[in-house]
């Protein structure tokens, strides 16, 4: 399906190529470069680019474009998903350079995702329940849309062929789920239990969406006042952050970033805590707040200098907010128990919860 693959780095060099069928000239990438130029932003390069004789399907990861050359009809997602999987594999296998380890032994096993003969002196299984809140908050502070997406990432280092089951206290919370192929769907359908023979090492066991009927707790609020005056070289900037519904946990690693209007030349601000940066070229304001102290709310205040003579910008910036709350799954999801069958030893088990802001935007 994929004829050839080219890897293009951020400075536009083709630094790796691979051909599965006959060799395709790397000049085919010129069409890609053209599209890249047209797109201005790398993220706006169309994933599928038709050329006279080929189709280029590309993905962007780690500032590297993976450009696949195909010649005939193929589901584009097939190629895109495959390329992403290739990158994932690159990522997880850095360290092991021995080609011999990559023999397709799994192909021949009953459990294709797990190699046989796994041995550990310390048997351990860790699960991270990570939830992300995607939200759009409007000018007045009310929630336009908010939803919780979660994943359970696992790091399982267990000897032999362990068979695990993981059950939840409140599985009904999970609205839409997608599984690693090791999970027995039938068991889930019938009992809402995750039953699986895990792959060895790190893997994503489950992704889920919390049913939208449940009201989503918004962990923090933003008070803001940004004003530009007509024909003035100054603008006011004020914002204050505060915790909202955090179930008594601390909100940490807060970072606020915002794209200020083009007319803003510079920002002279004063942060009550943390540090801020403003890039006058990209107009990107970024404020690394850190932990929010409910007694002393962090704020960022000051003035923006505007281009003289330019008219008042009619758009207001949006704030993108990142934050973390440890030891909390904001949906309230709780793992009930984790059991192992099929092996004799007693593994060490651990579950960790975390909540993060996902695509969390505050409009002004």
């Amino acid at each position: 399906m994929i004829h050839s693959l080219f890897l293009v780095n951020s400075s536009g060099d083709i630094f790796l190529e691979k051909h599965w069928k006959s060799v395709v000239s790397r000049s085919v990438c010129d069409y890609f470069f053209e599209a890249q130029e047209r797109a201005t932003e790398p993220e706006n390069v169309p994933p599928v680019i038709p050329t006279p004789h080929h189709y280029l399907i590309n993905v962007l990861r780690h500032k590297i474009f993976f450009v696949a050359v195909i010649q005939t009809e193929v589901p584009p997602l097939f190629v895109i998903e495959f390329l992403h999987r290739v990158v994932d594999t690159f990522q997880s296998s850095t360290g092991s350079t021995n080609v011999g380890e990559q023999l397709p032994t799994g192909q021949l096993s009953v459990v294709p995702w797990r190699r046989t003969g796994v041995k550990y002196t310390n048997n351990e299984a860790y699960f991270d329940v990570v939830e992300e809140i995607d939200a759009i908050i409007d000018k007045s502070g009310s929630t336009i849309t908010a939803e919780i997406q979660g994943v359970i990432d696992a790091c399982v280092k267990l000897t032999g062929m362990p068979d695990l089951t993981l059950s939840f206290m409140n599985p009904r919370l999970l609205d839409d789920v997608s599984f690693h192929p090791c999970v027995r769907f039938k068991r889930w359908e019938a009992e809402r239990i995750l039953s699986f023979i895990p792959p060895d090492g790190n893997f994503r066991l489950l992704s889920y969406h919390v049913s939208s009927q449940n009201l989503v707790a918004i962990p923090l609020y933003v008070k803001h006042n940004i004003t530009f005056r007509e024909n003035s070289s100054q603008g006011r900037f004020e914002m204050t952050l505060g915790p909202k519904q955090t179930m008594g946990k601390a909100v940490e690693s807060v970072v606020v970033s915002s794209q200020l209007p083009r007319g803003v030349l510079n920002a002279n601000l004063n942060a009550s805590q943390g540090t801020y940066t403003f890039d006058p070229v990209t107009k990107l304001l970024s404020w690394d707040v850190g932990k929010i102290n409910p007694q002393k709310l962090p704020s960022l205040k000051g003035s923006m200098s505007m281009q003289t003579g330019a008219s008042k910008p009619d758009e207001n910036p949006t704030f993108n907010i990142q934050c973390k709350i440890q030891q909390l799954a904001i949906s309230g999801l709780k793992v009930n128990r984790l059991d192992m069958y099929g092996e004799k030893y007693k593994p060490f088990k651990g579950i960790k919860y975390m909540t993060k802001a996902g695509k969390f935007q505050v409009r002004t």
């Binding site: 069928k21 009809e73 997602l77 080609v99 459990v111 039938k186 019938a190 969406h209 935007q361 409009r363």
Partner: protein
């Protein structure tokens, strides 16, 4: 060196364009020489004896290739290492070869023999990798070798090698499309493979080589549906896409009865899954009751049900594949389930989001209700890339309706303030579309857009003008104020499209703004020469229209404009000016059109319809590249329209039969339970919870426990039955149910069972079936006579029919109830026939149980009228003999050189194979056996006796063979047409088939006067040969020639039944048509035969040792035959 380097670079230089490459340019002295040296280095390393050095060199070379540097000059040095023992080195050499073999074909041929050797390696991984490399070397000269290798690998014991064979098919096809026919044969063979490992790969090959041969899918359809969930992710995508197309050709449109009450259907989307299913079931029941014309084919339902759980896959491509399948195939009320999964994908990488949104955009036009609940998921964030924003906007626009429009417009207002101006422009267009589609908000939108006219950004204003123009066309009378406002904008707006739009508006509605219009024309006349072409054309238009309505004021201006246009550089504009002048300015002569000019120019023009660019894109299969690009791409297979009338559904029926034949003894009772359940499930067409078949043995045990309640027929348990059913799938694929899960040879074992289909197994099955039935209906048949089991089998089998047509029901039921007595009658009548004709039935092994004898007799009723007189006599003689006598005689025959070999062969019982089940054949039952008689007209043909039984109440006429589909090299001599077969009559005919020394199936159609049935005959390997007589010495001499690769040896423990010589001889000769070779030692039994077509010798030796241990040796030139024969003989000897 320099010259050669530069030269070879030119040849393969395509990969080096634009890459500064050291060592190309002989002038670049220093660098070049160092490069030269480096390559020399590598050569030295490759020639060394140390693997570590070789490995290092190969790593560097492969790195060069990866960077796109030319390493072709190293070819001779590298190719030498192809036979290197070190697997690491070998692998890298393979990588190199695949890259450069095409350029250096002659040298590449040196390596071929290594791969050929690799193809015979005992390690399946090496066999596979040898085939992979061999098929990747794009050297035309080795096409025949590749073909041969693929064919052999396609019948390899290891499913992994078979999978690799499937991968090699498209490669060979792209190298030499002339091989298509032969490749299709291999594809057909591999499609019949029952392992999940092979399924995806072979369907991929099918799609690339012969996607038009949809007929190859029929027999494998149900199997593919059932295996699907266990196939690896990438294979799933390919299979689902192919099955979508298949379903479109075979089933009826489920929405055929959908009336125009769109909304009614859409309401169902909001229900939960369970509700839907309940509804759906109700619906099905009610439709049946009302005898509405549409009833979903159970196979259609099977596909929908088995794909649904894959919506939960982590692989976006799989989810998309299922989504498009549902969109194209599911009844409207069920399509809704895909929305949630698609919305989930939008959390993925932005490329995934991009593709998914394209598809959602198309879907949301046809099925708005499906995505409405997820409206907010399409809200746009400032951080989204522009191309995603625009697509989301498209979806939001498609989803807009009376109820949600206010929310959407409020959201749009935020977007208009965005810093991303392209996105703002797209939003304005979206507002325009909402306004045209939803009349209630037209004024609101228009007002909003007019406000935008005072926006600072010119792009925003321009886009608004264009959209307003379109909106105004719908109701111009009310909006002269807006037109006036826009007229003023001509002073400021520079964007050509916007200027053109304003001018057109003023011209078109000049009567609404009689004072302003001439003034605008005046201004435009001034700037005419500086305007863009589209603006110039509109100025001419405006002038013409004003001239017609207000010539007093504008006559001169118009003349002026037309004169300017007359000398314009653009010929379109000159043309237009000339045309308009002729049309509007009254001339002395001619000007016939003059009076109509006003009508022509100021006719009422229909308002433009603002359509989504995604409208009607669903004529492309969703999820495809063609859909994404909205253009047909190479290799795209059209999604066919639903057929008006469903093609014959029975073409897929083979699988139902196969469900029985594939069961392995090893699975034991459990396996068989599942079969029956599967059947029942098919029969009742339960629509319920999807299955996921990753059950371990533990799960299966659990399933077994809960199986019982299922028989109470309560709906609640239906889910369980499905899981049990799917469990059997995975078990047949991997054998894990009976043994520990670590066993790895599963694939090969299951294959073994596929190939053997001897009567023993069938018997067992029947027994098992019966046990199951007893459990099901404990009261029913506990004491019933053995014959009854047959009748009950029928009942189960007939159920699908009952569902399909109720009229058939009565008939078949009465049939099944009769079947008990019927079979008795038949057996009696047979006896009569026997007496009359004095033709006796071949012997059965004594271990056969009474339970099956009735059916057996029925099958083996031989009408030998058609036999050649010479052979029939021999048969008569043989058939009279008792079992023991036969073996005695056999011993005799061995010493008697003159005795016909045929005598020996008939000694063993004839196994009957089913060709057409009576249910599928609608009352016509056909069986066949290999009589082991020489076929009179052709010595290479195998004689196949075919026995027809007419179980219907009417005559079957003109039975004959049509359209044999044979693999290359195979031939067939059809039997003479049977004119009439009376009700409950039976007849036996013979036909000859030359299988060309392969176990490939002979496919043909069996035709009656009313119907055609697709049937196939597959010979057990033992029937592909005929006995050869030779002495012990000759035997040893021949054996000596067939050593090494041609010799296969296997240790075994003889089964309880096979402890003595006689039984060994009997068993071996029953498994294969070979004769015993006399020998001195009583520890050894030797047999000889030769293959029918090529006459290759087949030598079999069984060496008995202490305590039932034995060794089996087969020597045969044809390795595939040898391997299969070993398997078959082992099977009979170890029983």
């Amino acid at each position: 060196m320099s010259a050669s380097s530069a030269f070879s670079d030119d040849k393969g230089g395509s990969s080096n364009v634009g890459e500064p490459e050291y060592g190309h340019d002989p002038a670049s002295g220093g660098i070049f020489s160092s490069d030269y040296k480096r390559h020399d280095d590598l050569k030295e390393m490759l020639d060394s004896n140390k693997d570590s050095l070789k490995l290092e060199a190969m790593k560097r070379i492969v790195a060069m290739i990866a960077r796109g540097k030319n390493a072709s000059e190293l070819f001779p040095a590298v190719v030498k290492n192809v036979a290197c023992k070190n697997i690491e080195v070998k692998k890298l050499v393979y990588v190199y070869l695949v890259r450069y073999a095409e350029e250096q074909q002659d040298l590449a041929l040196l390596s071929i023999s290594t791969f050929q050797r690799g193809l015979k390696d005992p390690n399946q991984l090496i066999r596979a990798s040898a085939l992979r490399v061999l098929s990747s070397i794009r050297v035309t000269i080795i096409v025949p070798i590749m073909m041969l290798a693929i064919k052999e690998a396609a019948s390899d014991m290891s499913p992994y090698v078979r999978k690799t064979a499937a991968h090699a098919i498209p490669k060979l096809y792209s190298l030499d499309p002339e091989q298509k026919d032969q490749l299709i044969e291999v594809i057909e063979k591999l499609l019949a493979d029952k392992t999940t490992l092979v399924a995806g790969s072979v369907v991929m090959a099918f799609e690339e080589v012969c996607p038009e041969r949809i007929d190859l899918i029929h027999k494998n359809y149900r199997k593919l549906c059932n295996l699907l969930i266990d196939v690896e992710e990438w294979g799933q995508v390919v299979i689902i896409n192919m099955l979508t197309r298949y379903a479109r050709t075979q089933f009826l449109n489920p929405n055929i009865n959908e009336c125009l009450l769109e909304e009614g259907g859409e309401k169902a989307f909001y229900g939960s899954d369970e509700d839907e299913e309940a509804k759906e079931e109700n619906a099905e029941i009610s439709t049946m009751a009302k005898r509405k014309p549409y009833v979903m084919d159970p196979d259609h339902r099977l596909l929908l049900r088995n794909t649904k759980p894959l919506l939960q896959s982590r692989n976006a491509a799989v989810v998309m594949a299922v989504a498009q399948l549902y969109f194209h195939l599911a009844p409207k009320a069920e399509v809704g389930v895909i929305a949630k999964a698609l919305v989930r994908l939008m959390r993925s990488h932005s490329e995934v989001q991009y593709v998914v949104l394209q598809n959602v955009a198309t879907m949301s036009i046809k099925r708005r209700g499906m995505f409405e609940p997820y409206l907010k998921s399409f809200y746009i964030r400032s951080t989204d890339p522009t191309q995603i924003k625009v697509l989301k906007l498209e979806v939001l626009t498609n989803l807009a309706s009376d109820t949600n429009i206010s929310t959407i417009l409020r959201e749009f207002q935020t977007y208009i303030k965005s810093m991303d101006k392209d996105f703002v422009a797209a939003t304005i267009q979206a507002i325009g579309r909402c306004a045209t589609n939803i009349g209630e908000v037209r004024d609101t939108c228009l007002n909003g857009l007019v406000q935008l006219l005072s926006n600072r950004d010119e792009l925003v204003v321009a886009e608004s003008v264009v959209v307003i123009k379109k909106l105004l066309q719908m109701q111009p009378e009310q909006h002269s104020e807006i037109i006036k406002h826009m007229a003023k904008l001509t002073d400021n707006i520079q964007v050509p499209m916007a200027r053109a739009s304003i001018l057109w508006l003023i011209g078109e509605y000049c009567e609404h703004v009689p004072k302003i219009a001439p003034d605008v024309l005046r201004k435009m006349a001034k700037t005419f020469t500086n305007e863009e072409d589209i603006v110039k054309l509109q100025i001419i238009n405006l002038a013409a229209k004003l001239y017609l309505t207000n010539s007093k004021q504008t006559k001169l201006l118009t003349q002026y404009v037309l004169n300017l246009a007359k000398y314009d550089q653009n010929y379109d504009i000159r043309d237009r000016a000339r045309f308009i002048r002729q049309l509007i300015v009254p001339m002395e002569k001619g000007g016939a059109l003059n009076k109509y000019a006003k009508k022509l120019f100021l006719a009422l023009k229909p308002a433009p319809v603002l359509e989504s660019p995604f409208k009607d894109r669903d004529h492309f299969q969703l999820g495809s590249l063609s859909h994404l690009l909205n253009a047909k791409t190479g290799g795209y297979q059209e999604l066919p329209d639903w057929p008006e009338v469903a093609p014959d559904p029975s073409v897929r029926n083979v699988e139902l039969e196969e469900v029985f034949t594939t069961s392995e003894g090893r699975i034991g009772l459990l396996g068989d339970w599942r079969e029956v359940i599967k059947l029942l499930e098919r029969v009742t067409t339960l629509t319920s919870v999807p299955e996921w078949t990753k059950c371990s043995s533990r799960d299966k045990r659990k399933d077994k426990k809960v199986e019982k309640p299922f028989y109470s027929d309560s709906d609640g348990e239906s889910g369980q039955t499905e899981s049990a059913d799917s469990g059997s799938d995975s078990a047949s694929g991997s054998e894990s149910s009976s043994s520990s899960s670590e066993e790895s040879g599963s694939g090969s074992e299951s294959e073994e069972s596929e190939e053997e289909s001897d009567s023993e197994e069938e018997e067992q099955k029947k027994k098992r079936k019966k046990i199951v039935q007893r459990k099901m209906k404990p009261s029913a048949s506990e004491s019933a006579a053995s014959e009854e089991s047959c009748g009950e089998d029928e009942k189960i089998l007939q159920k699908p029919k009952e569902i399909r047509s109720e009229s058939d029901e009565e008939e078949s039921e009465s049939e099944s109830s009769e079947s008990e007595s019927e079979s008795e009658q038949e057996s009696e009548s047979e006896k009569e026939v026997k007496k009359k004709k004095k033709v006796s039935v071949p012997n059965f092994p004594s271990k056969q149980t009474k339970k099956t004898t009735v059916e057996k007799k029925e099958m083996s009723l031989l009408d030998l009228d058609d036999f050649e007189p010479t052979t029939s006599q021999v048969i008569t003689v043989n058939n009279v003999l008792s079992n023991s006598l036969v073996t005695d005689l056999e011993g005799l025959s061995l010493t008697d050189t003159m005795m016909s070999s045929a005598t020996v062969t008939t000694a063993s019982s004839l196994k009957m194979y089913e060709l057409l089940h009576r249910i599928k054949g609608e009352g016509l039952a056909v069986e066949y056996c290999f009589s082991r008689q020489p076929f009179s007209s052709d010595p290479h043909m195998i004689t196949v006796q075919i026995h027809f039984t007419n179980n219907t109440t009417s005559e079957v006429k003109t039975l004959h063979v049509e359209e044999p589909k044979l693999q290359s090299g195979m031939r067939m001599k059809e039997f003479t047409e049977i004119d009439v077969l009376p009700p409950s009559g039976s007849v036996t005919v013979v036909m000859g088939i030359d299988f060309s020394d392969s176990t490939q199936t002979a496919n043909f159609q069996l035709c009656t006067h009313t119907r055609k049935f697709f049937v196939s005959i597959q010979p057990p390997v033992g029937e592909l040969m005929m006995p050869v007589f030779m002495t012990e010495n000759e035997f040893k001499k021949e054996q000596g020639k067939l050593m090494g690769m041609n010799e296969l040896s296997e240790k075994l423990v003889l089964g309880v039944m096979c402890q003595n010589d006689h039984t060994i001889v009997q068993q071996v000769t029953s498994a294969a048509n070979i004769s015993r070779v006399p020998c001195g030692s009583d520890k050894e039994c030797r047999f000889a035969g030769k293959t029918m077509t090529s006459g290759s010798l087949v030598l079999v030796t069984v060496l008995t040792k202490e305590e039932g241990a034995a060794q089996l040796t087969v020597n045969c030139e044809k390795m595939v035959i040898g391997t299969m024969l070993v398997k078959d003989i082992l099977q009979v000897l170890t029983q």
